[in-house]
Subunit: 443 residues, 2 copies
């Protein structure tokens, strides 16, 4: 099966940041077979399918490095409340979250990401077995990590039970071409040293990255300072769990020494600018991280923290926040930001050999961003157009492993109305909606 | 002519912030005749047209308080260059900008704003006569202000010639129901005291607001401090030009005394969070302005400064920036931000008696934001959905003065492809495109 896509403005995101302003791409089965300029397109070749991109921007599928896809039901609930976690999130999660709700939310979230050009993501939540099934069903590339925390949760009956869950979960998905199972201690402060060390060993055994919220909360920083005279990252080094397999989400509060440690152990960082600034937590030192050689990708966080699951909203917020914090309008030119959303995100997930750039032999995970909409003219710089003008609704076509999952802004094999109805039904059945409305009325 | 819109989630934005979660609206000719809950909809009335909103959010048309609609050609050009003004903007403007380019750009920009739910705006540029004609033709509500600056410009042969232009321009549009002509000194530092005083008198004579960039630039603050031991706003008070007719754009750098003066004279502020932070200039003290009782609206600035002309992008940036700067996640709840984009914007333009809220007797300027798209579920709070989840592409229908200008995400009387072709043709004819590419190659 050979597919030709012609007349695209191709951003390869390869090491040379090569562009083909009038380019073509050939996909064979799951892989990229050719990429080049239109005037070098062979004339005598037959293709099974030919698609005119009509000057759309073609780039690698975006990588969302930090999500909680089971949490769609919480979106728009209690956004601006200082006590949002205790008043809305924890009680509703404890009372209502179940297998079916997580699964239908996961499918919905994956649909939303695919429609927005996200082709791979790293998730952390509960019921990750169901979420892995959702990812497989939706043909998304994904890392799904079961949460480990020092309390009883919605899917395990013992504190830290997520670890045993993960011990069963990880082997199940071994060798799968698209979906990997993983494990995610919630945070350093909500787990024991032993559990963190066991998680690290598990990740080593199954050769899969693991994820944890790190250096995100003010109380977290105070706790490690007061109790250990350390930062959380210094503490994690001491207990021996820093490695290239750790994806540290947030990292808002970093010392110079923390940045050295992240580089030394090749820890990856999932930077969630939208969620971090909506919650007024602060702006991570991304320029310093990159200058030190640390790998950084972009993440949306969950739909109840960041509300959107697309990386266009993150790229725009990233540009404006980092330029303003650095007091430098030329800091982070648009092409560097598109790198973070694509090839650098692929590195965070440990998938850079297979995805993240448009190169011959790589997996055919790529997206088209149409340039017909009114906000997309003129385009003197395609990176600028993506970062400063585009929004998620400009994504027109999405391919994952050579298979088209979005065509002309619609899902190929699923229907949003149907997915929404299934999620709404799950929200009804567990009483989520009525309990949410009650919590709102208790203002 | 009576139009019924039913099954909408209506945000009236009236003083009581009344909502009708299941609401209806009746339009008669240019005005709002009725608004209420679906269960109070009279059953025996006949309408000329009936529209099912299908649970879309219905709110007042948004007001963009600071634009440069003639500048679409500059979008995505030199965004991240420190010397962008001198290298790209000024030379290209001087060499290429002409009547036809401004006019076609203006029409395109108005189309873009209407498709994004902006129904009124306050513009500052050159060739404002042509831009006023564009606004009239597109049936937009607009204030168009001719720039006055101490240099020869693309449309006047003498420094400060914009003042004479304005003296001819303002009377031409007197009494027009939708389009008002105005005048905009570029900035305090680029005009003489006499010119600023004449502008103020002109605005008084024709009872129309005027606009100026104020307290935007670091060098501006330094100049007034060093030469006058004053802030720009203190200087403007001294020369007697502060009044409720002045719309001060940006106001990034404000002292406590400045804020007192803005309140004392009822000066309005056009806050451009997107452009201000993309250019790393800083974040204006909006909470302090509002606490002092100053009227503040949102503006996008020009497409070469902010890239987007819609207020969804501004609302999202506003929320995240102000919460983070105030270190308070509960600062500026979403409903306050939607106020700034609607009724407060109307006050900035001096149009609050006619637009900015859904109230019986007001002009029927309103928009529908569809809730069918994947990013718009669930909605526990319609304001949250607008600020944190929605994007400009969710706007489905737009009415201005009772006339529908956007239906099902398309312009009713115009065609974007055609408007783009006309603008592209004007860009070709004046050599804009080739000169822009030359400037880029000179990196």
């Amino acid at each position: 099966m050979k597919i030709l896509i012609k007349n695209a403005w191709i951003l390869t995101m390869n090491d040379q940041m090569e562009q083909f302003e009038h380019g073509y791409l050939v996909v064979e089965d799951t892989k990229i077979l050719e990429v080049g300029a239109m005037d070098s397109l062979p004339q005598d070749v037959k293709y099974d399918k030919c698609m005119d991109a009509k000057r759309a921007i073609l780039l690698p599928g975006m990588v969302n490095t930090h999500t909680h896809i089971g949490m769609i039901p919480f979106r728009s609930l209690g956004d601006d409340y200082p006590d949002r976690l205790r008043r809305f999130l924890f009680p509703l999660e404890n009372e209502c979250m179940n297998e079916q709700l997580a699964y239908t939310s996961g499918k919905y979230a994956i649909a939303e990401m695919q429609l927005a050009g996200v082709t791979a993501f790293f998730d952390m939540y509960y019921f990750e077995q169901q979420l892995a099934e959702a990812a497989e069903e939706m043909h998304s590339r994904a890392l799904l990590a079961e949460t480990v925390i020092d309390s009883v949760t919605v899917d395990v009956a013992e504190p830290m039970g997520g670890l045993q869950y993960a011990e069963r979960f990880l082997p199940k998905w071994q060798g799968h071409s698209m979906v990997q199972a993983s494990v995610a201690p919630h945070a350093p402060y909500s787990n024991t040293i032993e559990v963190l060390q066991q998680v690290d060993k598990l990740s080593l055994k199954y050769k899969v990255p693991w994820m944890m919220h790190v250096s995100e909360m003010d109380f977290e920083m105070a706790k490690y300072r007061d109790q250990h005279n350390q930062t959380p990252i210094e503490f994690l080094e001491k207990i021996g769990v820093l490695s290239s397999r750790l994806v540290a989400a947030h990292c808002i509060h970093l010392s110079d020494h923390d940045i050295e440690l992240l580089k030394k152990y090749d820890v990856k960082v999932a930077h969630c600018i939208g969620a971090n600034t909506k919650s007024a937590k602060g702006v991570a030192r991304v320029r310093d991280l990159l200058a030190a050689g640390v790998t950084v990708g972009l993440g949306t966080d969950g739909p109840s923290s960041g509300n959107t699951l697309d990386l266009f909203s993150q790229m725009r917020l990233f540009a404006n926040f980092h330029k303003t914090y650095l007091q430098d309008r030329s800091a982070f030119p648009a092409e560097e930001i598109v790198k973070l959303a694509t090839i650098e995100g692929a590195k965070v997930l440990g998938m850079q050999e297979h995805i993240g750039s448009i190169e011959v032999g790589k997996q055919a995970d790529f997206i088209l961003v149409e340039t017909d909409s009114v906000n997309m003219f003129p385009i003197f710089d395609a990176y600028s157009a993506l970062v400063y003008s585009a929004n998620a609704s400009n994504v027109s076509d999405v391919f994952i492993a050579g298979k088209q999952v979005v065509t002309n802004k619609e899902l190929v094999n699923f229907n949003v109305t149907q997915l929404r109805a299934e999620l709404a039904e799950a929200m009804e059945q567990c009483g989520f909606k009525s309990k949410a409305l009650e919590a709102m009325e208790g203002k």
